[in-house]
């Protein structure tokens, strides 16, 4: 494990914290989450090495403009995941903990998941011809994007915890 993976942020994964939410009012479009995500999914998990990799590591979050506001969005791990129903190869599946996982070896690159994902959270990795999406950082104790977010816009937890936080700070 590299030093980065040992870092533990305030958003430690536990049984409850399996989803990542974005408080759109705090997102400033800095794209730090995108970068942290790509680095976390590189071979060496270090920025300086990651940018020299071929193919380049791919981010699984998207920071995008929404009429003057900005949003960082990734896989929402939907309860009734349209991507899982559409996945004809059985590569995408719901794990026991409710998260949406992918068995990359089974993916044939039919892009049925891209056809149905409401959030546009699934991309094509052309080089390997497989779909890529948020895998909830299996090599870390926390989430790279949440840990890296400098404004606290990204939050890991349950939707109720997220809602409570928003209401309290309002």
């Amino acid at each position: 494990m590299s030093p980065a993976t040992k870092k533990v942020s305030a958003n430690i994964k536990n049984e409850k914290a399996l989803k990542i939410f974005c408080d759109i009012r705090k997102c400033v479009a800095c794209k730090t989450c995108e970068l942290a995500c790509a680095v976390e999914h590189s071979k060496d998990k270090e920025l300086l090495k990651a940018i020299k990799e071929t193919p380049l590591p791919k981010k699984r979050r998207h920071v995008s403009d929404s009429f003057g506001k900005t949003l960082s969005v990734g896989c929402q791990h939907c309860k009734e995941a349209a991507c899982v129903a559409a996945c004809m190869s059985g590569a995408l599946y719901k794990d026991k903990d409710g998260t949406t996982k992918q068995d990359k070896d089974k993916c044939v690159g039919c892009w049925m998941c891209i056809m149905v994902c409401p959030f546009g959270a699934i991309d094509r990795r052309i080089e390997e011809h497989v779909a890529v999406k948020c895998d909830l950082c299996p090599d870390r104790d926390d989430y790279a994007c949440v840990a890296a977010c400098p404004t606290g816009a990204l939050f890991a937890g349950t939707i109720d915890e997220f809602e409570k936080r928003i209401r309290e700070k309002r």
């Binding site: 929404s66 309860k79 004809m88 190869s89 892009w111 997220f162």
Partner: protein, 429 residues
Amino acid sequence: MHYVIIGGSAAGISAVEGIRETDKKSKITLIGDEKVSLYSRCLLSYLLAGTINEGNLYFKKKDFFKINNVDALLGARAQQVDLKNRIITTSDKKRIEFDKVLIATGARSKILEIPGIDNKGVSALRNIKDADEIKAMLKKTRTAVVLGGGLIGLRAAYALNNKGIIVKVAVKSPQILSQILDKTAAGLIQAKVEQKGIEIMKGLEAKEILGKDAVKGILLDNGKKLECELVIIGKGVEPNVELAKQAGIDVGAGIAAGEYLQTSAKDIFTAGDVAQTKDIASGEASLNAIWPSAVEQGKIAGRNMAGGKEKYDGSMAMNSIEFFGLSVISMGITRPKAQGYEELSAIDEKRAVYKKIVLKEGVIKGFISVGKIENSGVYNTLIKHGIDVGEIKDILLDEKFDYAKAMPLIKKNKEKFDKEEFRDSVITY
């Protein structure tokens, strides 16, 4: 409680999961006419192309039936559903008493009624047996003719081309993929497949398959003969409604499914390619024989069989395919024939990038994307929820259109987006 599921593909398997979410104990019997179950028929063309091996053909783990405590009767056909005595009889003379039934008998390849159709070397590509037959023919095949320019026909053509076989596709319509694409999108795909050596012959039909026993060639309706050793029939599918019809269950184009995926007969449900459900885009009862619908319907039907009361929102025609790296996604009404539709489109021919949006009264009803297919699901969601997109109409064709751009509409229509995954958008936007 004894559940009987007739059909061992996507819908039937998904129904097992739907039932087992709440009912872990009751007996489930699954009758499947194919000896092999748990495989994905959509992957057969990939198997044929050699891009996956046989082991990756399965969409569920091999011990699925054991884990879910299912008595799987494979290689047997349900021959009669006796509604009065509540008994199903099978081709191997079993009599199975039932409490609840799911009819998920699927669909079969349409057959062409022309001379020579029974020759050796003529096959559809619907089940494992078909794929095995075609695979066994490959060594002897120099040229293959595919009849039909639909999805299966072209996927088969792609697979055979990948195997180094000369492939010619005879298409009745003036364009390929006429069920799902408009002329422009079809043109881009055609250019791509032709560039890779697949010959597309439009406006032509087969009149006769030549050869005494084995295929020697094909005679087209323009009088032209083509030599070939293999003929693939890709003329679409038709639902296996006979079992339901015989039982006296309401059948239209498929088995008529109610909003809980129940049939006209008490305790009998239906799902998958055989089921006729409400089409979300058109509002009409339709057959949308596609994998995602089969899985969703099977799941909901299973839950309702186990005592649930879950409504099915409806199905929608949608497909995603790729030929030689050129991707295309299509959904809903892509070629409106009636009045009152508005079409927006943008094309970049050089990059083979195309997007088309079909609207009716401000609501998206259809969508095509060629080349840059990312974010297609955002349009899918807008269609499914019937959202008036009037205020963002001018940016719908942008390549950068994504979920963030749809957020104001998600917020505005928050009563429709009541699922948990949309809640953070609704709360914070």
